[in-house]
């Protein structure tokens, strides 16, 4: 015959165990969802910057009309570079265990593709190679971020 107190004890212990597991799962889920949302936002920012840079590099810079537009876009591109870097910095703070392979190298490549070459050179010719390169590097960065997220999601803590 079991002692009378065993039933409430087991019930209580089960409730504690169940709620602890549920808390752990919810915490993991919350972290994962927040991280996924942050990476989604970052990818949108990267792709927007890449599209703007592509338009910049496909525009000839030898007319007055295009020059004024290019001048504005040049400032926007430098700003977008900074925004992407700041968002990556925020991601680092949000989840210190997130590891993105070759992140600094990829960011450097994106910056080079966006604002290297004849960037801000008055009267420069259009540069389809650079326009294509921006898209390629942005795609690689998207892939690296998603891969990093997938690796992180598989970790419980």
């Amino acid at each position: 015959m079991l002692p009378v107190w065993i039933v409430p004890l087991v019930t209580f212990a089960s409730a504690i165990l169940g709620s602890t597991v549920a808390f752990g799962v919810q915490r993991w889920r919350y972290r994962t969802d927040r991280l996924a949302a942050a990476i989604d936002g970052l990818c949108v920012e990267i792709n927007g910057a890449a599209d703007k840079a592509t338009a910049y590099w496909l525009t000839e810079g030898d007319t007055d009309a295009s020059r004024s537009g290019l001048r504005l876009t040049a400032f926007e591109l430098v700003g977008r570079q900074a925004r992407i870097q700041e968002l990556i910095g925020a991601l680092d703070i949000q989840d210190e265990r997130l590891v993105i392979a070759d992140l600094d190298e990829l960011i450097a490549s994106l910056i080079d593709a966006m604002t290297g070459g004849d960037f801000r050179v008055v009267g420069r010719a259009h540069d389809p190679m650079r326009a294509a390169e921006v898209q390629t590097v942005a795609a690689r960065l998207n892939g690296a971020l998603r891969a990093g997220l997938n690796r992180r999601v598989r970790q419980w803590v």
Partner: protein, 115 residues
């Protein structure tokens, strides 16, 4: 050791060439960096260039400054590593430091190919 902060000369770095507007890479290289480097070589010192604190770089600015420094042959290639150090203390500016290293290596490789 001499420390050269880019932000002291160009808080908002511009384009590649002087004709592209103020605070260009060409202007920074020829008017600020080269005189400091030549002075440092004469005194057997090192110049440290700090990239931090500006409002953002176009990569063409950095290429013209550091790649151009190698291309122009202002100081002997073997002296560049000993005389010049480029630093980014903040994480935000680390990719620019990587770019500077790439540009200098590429300019050196191009010189070797041409020779």
């Amino acid at each position: 050791m001499t420390t050269l902060r880019v932000r002291d000369y160009a808080a908002a770095p511009g384009g590649r060439y002087r004709r592209d507007g103020p605070y260009s890479g060409e202007e920074f290289r020829d008017d600020v960096l080269v005189p400091r480097l030549l002075d440092a070589v004469g005194r057997n010192e090192r110049v440290v260039v700090e990239l931090d604190g500006v409002s953002g770089y176009g990569a063409s600015f950095l290429e013209e400054v550091f790649g151009g420094l190698v291309r122009k042959g202002v100081i002997a290639q073997q002296d560049i590593g000993r005389t010049l150090q480029v630093l980014a203390k903040e994480h935000l500016f680390k990719p620019y430091q990587i770019l500077v290293e790439r540009y200098m290596q590429k300019a050196q490789a191009d010189l070797v190919l041409r020779a």
